[in-house]
C-alpha cells in the first residue's frame, strides 16, 4: 500500500506527454475509418510507441502495467485516438500469435500490425452461437494442405475494413463441443468470402458490425495457430491478455464523459432548464456515479497490483459487469439531462449517440447474465444450473 513515483516513471510521463502533444491529430473523425486508424498506428510506430504493451522481442515496447497506465492517462488527457479498427490486431490477434503462433506467422504478421499495414477482425460468434460460443458450426474440411471453410460468422467488428481474421472453426465434426475447434488466420481477401455490413441502432451509417459468409474458402493449413483442433485453448489464451489494463482507455474516457455531464447539468440548472425535482434526481445520480467510477478505477489499480505481486485475481468478470452497468446508468442520466434534445443525433455523435452505443456493453463479449453465471459459479463456487431436460 504505497504510492511511489520513480524518476523513471516521471521521465516516461514527460516523454509521452511531449510526444503526444506534438503528434495527436487535431481533427475529430467518425468512428471506424480505416485510414484514420491505420495512419495513427503508423505515427505511433514511427514514434516508437507501437505495441506499447507487446514484448520487446516481438517489436513492442514491453512496458510494465504502471507505465502503460501512464501512457493511457496521457492519451486520455490529449484525447488521442483510440485503437479503432486496429483493436483486434493489437489486443487479440497479435498477442495470440506471440504466445501461440509459429515463427513464420509472427514474422509475417507482427510487423504489419505494428506498422498499421494490416487490419484484423474477429470471427468467433455465429448466428446460432452467441453466448454459447462452443456450439459454433462453421466448418473447415481438410483438402490436401488446405482447409476448406463453409459457414458464417457474425458481429464481426470492422469486418468490412479488415485484411485478416482470427477465425474459429470446427475442424473435427466428431469430437465433443470444445475439442474439435481450430484457431486459423483467414485472409479476408480470399475468394468465397462475402462481407455484409449490419446496420445498427446507433445510426444508419454506423455499421461497425458485419456478417461474414464463407463459401468454400481455402485457407492453407500453415495458417492454423496453436495446432489443429486446439483452438479453444488458443482462444482462452487471448482472453487472459491485458485483463487488468485493457479496459483502462475506455474507463478514463467515461470518467471524462461523466465530468462533462456534471458540467452540463449544472449549466442547465443555472438556466433553469429543468425543474427542481428533476434536478435533484439528476444530481443525486451523478453524485453516485462519481463514486462508482472512482471504484472502477480502484478495481483496476487493485487488479494491476495483484498481477504485479503474482497473485492475479479472478475479478475480470466483476470489473466488466460493474463497468458496463455503471456506463449504462451514466448514459441514461445524460438523456434525462437533455430533455427533448435527446431526440437529436447531433453531428458530433454526442450524448444520445453515447446512450445508444452503450447498449452492447451488457451484451458483447458475454452478456451480463453470462458474467453473473461466471461470478456465481467460478468465483463463489455456486452449483452450475441443471442440465437441459
Amino acid at each position: 500500500m504505497r504510492i511511489e513515483i520513480s524518476d523513471e516513471e516521471r521521465e516516461f510521463r514527460a516523454e509521452a506527454r511531449d510526444w503526444l502533444e506534438a503528434h495527436v491529430p487535431k481533427v475529430h473523425r467518425r468512428a471506424y475509418v480505416r485510414q484514420h486508424d491505420t495512419e495513427w498506428q503508423r505515427t505511433l510506430y514511427d514514434g516508437g510507441w507501437a505495441g506499447i504493451n507487446w514484448p520487446k522481442e516481438h517489436g513492442g515496447r514491453g512496458l510494465p502495467p504502471d507505465q502503460l497506465l501512464i501512457w493511457y492517462e496521457e492519451c486520455a488527457r490529449v484525447h488521442a485516438p483510440h485503437w479503432g479498427c486496429m483493436a483486434t490486431a493489437l489486443m487479440h490477434a497479435g498477442p495470440t500469435l506471440i504466445v501461440r503462433g509459429t515463427e513464420e506467422q509472427r514474422a509475417y504478421h507482427l510487423p504489419r500490425i505494428l506498422k498499421g499495414e494490416s487490419v484484423w477482425c474477429q470471427g468467433w460468434s455465429e448466428p446460432g452461437a452467441g453466448s454459447d460460443l462452443a456450439s459454433l458450426t462453421t466448418r473447415g474440411d481438410i483438402d490436401g494442405d488446405h482447409l476448406v471453410v463453409n459457414g458464417s460468422k457474425i458481429w464481426t467488428s470492422s469486418g468490412h475494413l479488415a485484411d485478416w481474421q482470427e477465425l474459429l472453426i470446427r475442424t473435427d465434426q466428431n469430437a465433443t463441443k470444445q475439442k474439435g475447434i481450430s484457431w486459423v488466420i483467414c485472409d479476408m481477401h480470399s475468394p468465397g468470402i462475402e462481407v455484409r455490413a449490419i446496420p445498427t441502432m446507433s445510426g444508419p451509417f454506423d455499421s461497425h458490425f458485419a456478417q461474414v459468409f464463407y463459401n468454400d474458402v481455402r485457407i492453407p493449413l500453415t495458417n492454423v495457430v496453436g495446432g489443429l483442433n486446439n483452438g479453444w485453448d488458443v482462444a482462452a489464451a487471448t482472453l487472459g491478455f491485458e485483463r487488468g489494463t485493457g479496459f483502462i482507455p475506455e474507463q478514463l474516457h467515461q470518467v471524462e464523459v461523466l465530468e462533462d455531464l456534471i458540467k452540463l447539468a449544472l449549466e442547465r440548472h443555472k438556466r433553469s432548464g429543468y425543474s427542481h425535482l428533476d434536478e435533484g434526481d439528476i444530481m443525486y445520480r451523478l453524485a453516485t456515479l462519481r463514486a462508482e467510477f472512482a471504484a472502477i478505477r480502484a478495481l483496476t489499480y487493485q487488479s494491476i497490483s495483484r498481477d504485479r505481486n503474482g497473485t492475479p485475481g479472478s475479478e475480470s468478470s466483476m470489473i466488466r459487469l460493474y463497468f458496463s452497468e455503471t456506463l449504462q446508468r451514466l448514459t441514461r442520466v445524460a438523456i434525462d439531462v437533455l430533455g427533448p434534445r435527446m431526440m437529436e443525433l447531433s453531428d458530433d455523435r454526442g450524448w444520445t449517440y453515447g446512450y445508444l452505443r452503450a447498449f452492447p456493453a451488457t451484451i458483447a463479449a458475454g452478456t451480463s447474465d453470462i458474467q453473473r453465471n461466471i461470478i456465481g459459479e467460478r468465483i463463489l463456487g455456486l452449483p452450475r444450473g441443471p442440465k437441459p431436460q
Binding site: 460468434s125 446460432g128 452467441g130 453466448s131 454459447d132 456450439s135 457474425i154 458481429w155 449490419i198 446496420p199 445498427t200 441502432m201 446507433s202 445510426g203 444508419p204 451509417f205 458490425f209 442547465r268 438556466r271 432548464g273 429543468y274 425543474s275 427542481h276 425535482l277 428533476d278 434526481d281 438523456i335 434525462d336 430533455g339 427533448p340 434534445r341 435527446m342 431526440m343 437529436e344 443525433l345 447531433s346 453531428d347 444520445t352 445508444l356 447498449f359 452492447p360 451488457t362 451484451i363 458483447a364 452478456t367 451480463s368 447474465d369 453473473r372 444450473g385 437441459p388 431436460q389
Partner: protein, 340 residues
C-alpha cells in the same frame, strides 16, 4: 360500481383498427429492404388516406363535427394499437389536430385532416431555446400540432422559419429544428373549452402501452425460439424473470390507462391526477421494456434489422410529446391525493 373493462362494442372498434394494421401495416414494413439504407421515412404516408377513409382519425369526435361519434374510450383503445404497430406519431397530429380545428370552428380543415389528405406534423418545443421547436413528421405538412398546459393549437408551417433538417435518433422520422412564429398559433383552443392537452397525454400514454406490449411479446416470442446451450433462452430465469417484469409493468400501465380514461370520460375530480399518473407509468414502462427487449435479443437487438430499436426510439419520442415524464412528476405532486 366501477366497470373498468371495455364493452364488447368498444373492443370491436379497437379490433377493427388492429386487423387493418396487421394486414396493411405490419411491423415488418419498417425493416430495411434489400440494399436500401435503413433510413426509412414516410412508409406510413401511403396508407394515410386509407386510414382516414376508415374513420381512424375521427373515432372520438362528434358526428356533427365530421367524426365517427364514438368516445374517448374507443380512441384510447385505438391508440394502443397504433403504438403496438409503430404507426407514425403524426397520427397524434391527425386525431388531435382534427379536434382542435373542429373546436376552433375550422370545418374547412377538419374534413381534410380526418380524410388523411391534410397531414399534421408535431411540434416539440424547446424550453432551453425559447421560440424554437423540433418539427416531427412535418416536412410535407401544412399544419403542425402543439400543446401546453393552457391549450392546444395548430401552427401554419408556412410561418415557421429557420427550418433546418436534423438527424434524429429515430431514422423513421422527419425531423427538423424550426423557429416558431412570434405570434400565437392562428388556431388555438384553450383547455377549459376542451381539455385537449389532457387527451393528448392520454393518447400518448395508450401508444406507449402499445409499445410496451409490443416489446413484451417480441421478447417472449424470441425467448421461446432462440436456443443457447441447447435450450430456449426463455427457460433461463434471468430471461424469464425479465420477461415477467416486462409483462407486469405493461399490465399495470394498461390498468392505469383504463382508470384514467374512465376518469376522463366521467370527468371525475381526480382526472388530472389519473391521466398524469397514466402517462408517467406508461412512459417509464415503455422505455424500460424497450431496453429490456434489446438486452433479451442479445447482439441482434442492437441491429436495425429487427424492430427492437424502433420501440426504444418511439418510446423516447412519445415521452417528449406534450411534456416529458420528468415534468409529470412535478405535476403529480401538485395534485391533491386522489379520493379513496
Amino acid at each position: 360500481m366501477i366497470h373498468l373493462q371495455p364493452t364488447p362494442d368498444q373492443e370491436e372498434a379497437a379490433e377493427a383498427v388492429a386487423s387493418f394494421l396487421q394486414a396493411e401495416m405490419p411491423i415488418e414494413r419498417l425493416r430495411p429492404r434489400g440494399r436500401e439504407l435503413p433510413l426509412i421515412r414516410h412508409r406510413d404516408q401511403a396508407k394515410w388516406a386509407e386510414m382516414g377513409a376508415l374513420g381512424f382519425f375521427g373515432l372520438g369526435l362528434e358526428e356533427d363535427l365530421g367524426g365517427v361519434g364514438l368516445g374517448v374510450v374507443e380512441e384510447t383503445l385505438a391508440f394502443r394499437e397504433f403504438g403496438r404497430y409503430l404507426v407514425a406519431p403524426r397520427v397524434l397530429g391527425s386525431v388531435l389536430g382534427a379536434r382542435v380545428a373542429a373546436r376552433a370552428g375550422r370545418a374547412d380543415l377538419v374534413e381534410g385532416i380526418l380524410a388523411g389528405t391534410v397531414p399534421v406534423g408535431l411540434l416539440l418545443t424547446l424550453e432551453d431555446e425559447p421560440g424554437t421547436a423540433y418539427l416531427v413528421d412535418g416536412a410535407d405538412a401544412e399544419w403542425a400540432l402543439t400543446w401546453n398546459a393552457g391549450g392546444a393549437g395548430l401552427v401554419d408551417t408556412a410561418k415557421l422559419s429557420d427550418i433546418e433538417a436534423r438527424e434524429s435518433i429515430d431514422s423513421t422520422l422527419e425531423f427538423a429544428h424550426v423557429r416558431l412564429p412570434a405570434s400565437e398559433p392562428e388556431i388555438w383552443v384553450t383547455a377549459d373549452v376542451d381539455p385537449i392537452p389532457r387527451r393528448g397525454d392520454l393518447l400518448c400514454a395508450a401508444m406507449l402501452v402499445g409499445l410496451s406490449e409490443g416489446t413484451r411479446d417480441d421478447s417472449v416470442e424470441f425467448a421461446k425460439m432462440r436456443k443457447q446451450f441447447n435450450q430456449p433462452i426463455g427457460s433461463f430465469q434471468a430471461v424469464k424473470h425479465r420477461c415477467a417484469d416486462m409483462a407486469t409493468r405493461a399490465a399495470a400501465a394498461w390498468a392505469q390507462i383504463l382508470f384514467a380514461v374512465l376518469a376522463e370520460k366521467e370527468r371525475t375530480e381526480d382526472v388530472v391526477f389519473q391521466v398524469t399518473a397514466a402517462k408517467l407509468i406508461a412512459t417509464d414502462t415503455a422505455i424500460r421494456n424497450a431496453q429490456a427487449n434489446i438486452q433479451n435479443h442479445g447482439a441482434t437487438g442492437f441491429t436495425s434489422e429487427v424492430e427492437a430499436h424502433h420501440f426504444l426510439k418511439r418510446s423516447h419520442l412519445l415521452d417528449q410529446v406534450g411534456t416529458n415524464q420528468r415534468r409529470l412528476r412535478d405535476r403529480l405532486l401538485e395534485q391533491p391525493a386522489p379520493p379513496a
